[in-house]
Symmetry: C2
Subunit: 348 residues, 2 copies
């Protein structure tokens, strides 16, 4: 066991403070990683605040982790000391269920082991996330980061990137397809970049006109003001796929009518209020409302390789650890373009 410096919330909604945790020594299959960067995901705020219930304190958040390998276990073959690597939303899973065997560990029927605010498979050891100087992770749950990417900008790929990449692949987005993205935040801006590089024509749905310019810079061809009924009506039967990245309350039905026949609106977040669906709009166009959760390890590596090839990273604002609490307050106001990333290279 080793003592590690970290930042933790000691109770629900408490500010994050410096805190010492212990990490296991690297076993034969483990990789020990010095953490350089960790993104701040909106779900960090929800979990720190216990919005979803069951939060475990003290909590060290962070599941968009980038670092370098400082030690590898005896059985580790595909990684070596010095490699740039990433860790995403989970660090283990049952490895036996159908989903795990298919590489879709995010849907593990026993529930994956979350990178933080979770228990290891022993059901006793609490997991601590990336707001810390080091982490030890089984080699099967570690990702390689293409060397040409900016490492701070690569951190959010581990959650915001894969959360948008996975549904774009699953619903077969490619050239000739039209994709709508609801909301321009951490997820939304990655959705635009990735869908565009896959060849799709991308439109942003937003409530604020001020985002139009930036959306176009990111790759959106059109910006549709969702409050404007005329604009929404003009895009009826338009989209093959809509990625809904907004968790605040919003009526899904006007968006559903902008789907083509056989189109799908995918929920990527958990809306605060359960959506009410007009069945009529589904039945009359064989449309679907679906959900999608991050992505599996294989697909996450594929996404990282895709981002390396196309030089895609997240737009980030890099902060020092002493600004975490301030970043949380700003994130609550959506005051960031488009992801905070903590620079942990000073080893706290």
């Amino acid at each position: 066991m080793k003592t590690i410096k970290a930042f933790a919330a000691k109770t629900a909604n408490a500010p994050l403070v410096p805190f010492e945790i212990t990490r296991r020594d690297a076993g034969p299959n483990d990789i020990q990683i010095k953490i350089d960067y960790c993104g701040i995901c909106h779900s960090d705020l929800h979990q720190v605040a216990d919005d979803w219930g069951g939060s475990i304190y003290p909590m060290v958040p962070g599941h968009e982790i980038i670092g370098r390998i400082v030690n590898v276990g005896k059985k580790v073959k595909k990684f070596k000391i010095g490699d740039s690597v990433g860790v995403g939303c989970f660090v283990d899973s049952c490895r036996k269920c159908v989903s795990c065997k298919q590489g879709l560990q995010q849907y593990c029927t026993e529930g994956f082991v979350g990178t933080y605010n979770s228990y290891e498979k022993d059901r006793v050891t609490v997991t601590y996330g990336g707001y810390s100087s080091e982490i030890v992770v089984d080699q099967n749950y570690v990702l390689k980061i293409p060397k040409n990417l900016n490492m701070a900008g690569a951190a959010p790929l581990l959650c915001a990137g894969i959360t948008t990449y996975s549904p774009l692949c699953h619903w077969k987005i490619k050239k000739g397809k039209k994709v709508g993205v609801i909301g321009l935040g951490g997820l939304g801006h990655m959705g635009i970049k990735l869908a565009r590089k896959m060849g799709a024509e991308v439109s942003l749905f937003t409530t604020s006109e001020s985002k139009a310019k930036d959306a176009k810079r990111l790759g959106a061809r059109r910006v549709i003001l969702s409050k404007d009924k005329n604009q929404m009506d003009a895009f009826k039967n338009e989209f093959d796929l809509i990625l809904d990245t907004v968790s605040g309350p919003h009526d899904l039905n006007p968006y559903i009518t902008t789907l083509k026949r056989d189109g799908t609106l995918v929920l990527l977040g958990l809306p605060e209020k359960n959506p009410e669906i007009e069945a009529f709009n589904l039945v009359l166009g064989r449309r679907s409302v679906a959900g999608s959760l991050i992505g599996g390890i294989r697909e996450t590596q594929e996404m990282l390789n895709f981002c390396g090839k196309h030089k895609i990273t997240s737009d980030v604002e890099v902060i020092k650890p002493d600004k975490i609490n301030q970043a949380y307050e700003r994130l609550k106001l959506s005051d960031v373009k488009y992801r905070f990333v903590i620079d942990l290279r000073d080893r706290l």
Copy 2:
């Protein structure tokens, strides 16, 4: 123009009474059909009652039509006098939009011409349905009925049959797949028969234990009492596809949790109340809630051929036209196994 005997509702909710209508003479592409049987679909009741708004009176309902050809236009090649044929929910469409060109006329972007309670493409001539002695339909919207089928039992295939067959095909149901059917009525009993013959393992969700025996006779392997939380919990993550045939108010969420990862619950009717969906259940299993509307002409013919091959018809109670109003009252109470079919062979 020709005068035809029919049964019509003269105003919303009025009892159906004998009524004379006019039909066009058969043009070069038309087929003139003497009607032998017409099913009573639950949507007939809704439209007679103007539940969905916009009903046109007098209204001659009926879109599950079986008859024999008595005349064909000069350009009709694939049909001849004496053939047993069927007419389903629509008798024309724009023929130009993407859906029409793909044979998915039910999703015609201009809206199909309904077999009744609709206007022909001239937007003036009202369409009258199958509660009548004859009908004239363009050859492209007429179906061939396999000769080995019982003709009264075949009538409901034109709506209840294709409404369940189409989603089973679209979502690729075959041997090894598990299908749930919610509700044992006109649609539900066809869903069980068709899914079973496609090789699926079929379960019925029902609120009434008394339906268990009949469901098993129809091909269901299991009957799940949806009111019983323990039974519902025992089938979590079980189904590839659920056909929801119930339009009365019911909470979709317990059913959604019985879907496997990537499973889909398809709404086939229009629930009286818009369903509220727990996003959580979609996101955590990449599940979908979708809708599906009848089927296109090509697929309807394919379904009829499938039914011919496997000797599938609807379980029907055949009535004379003077019992239509009584049948409506009984159908409101779900007092029929499983479809009323009007015997129109006496030519009213």
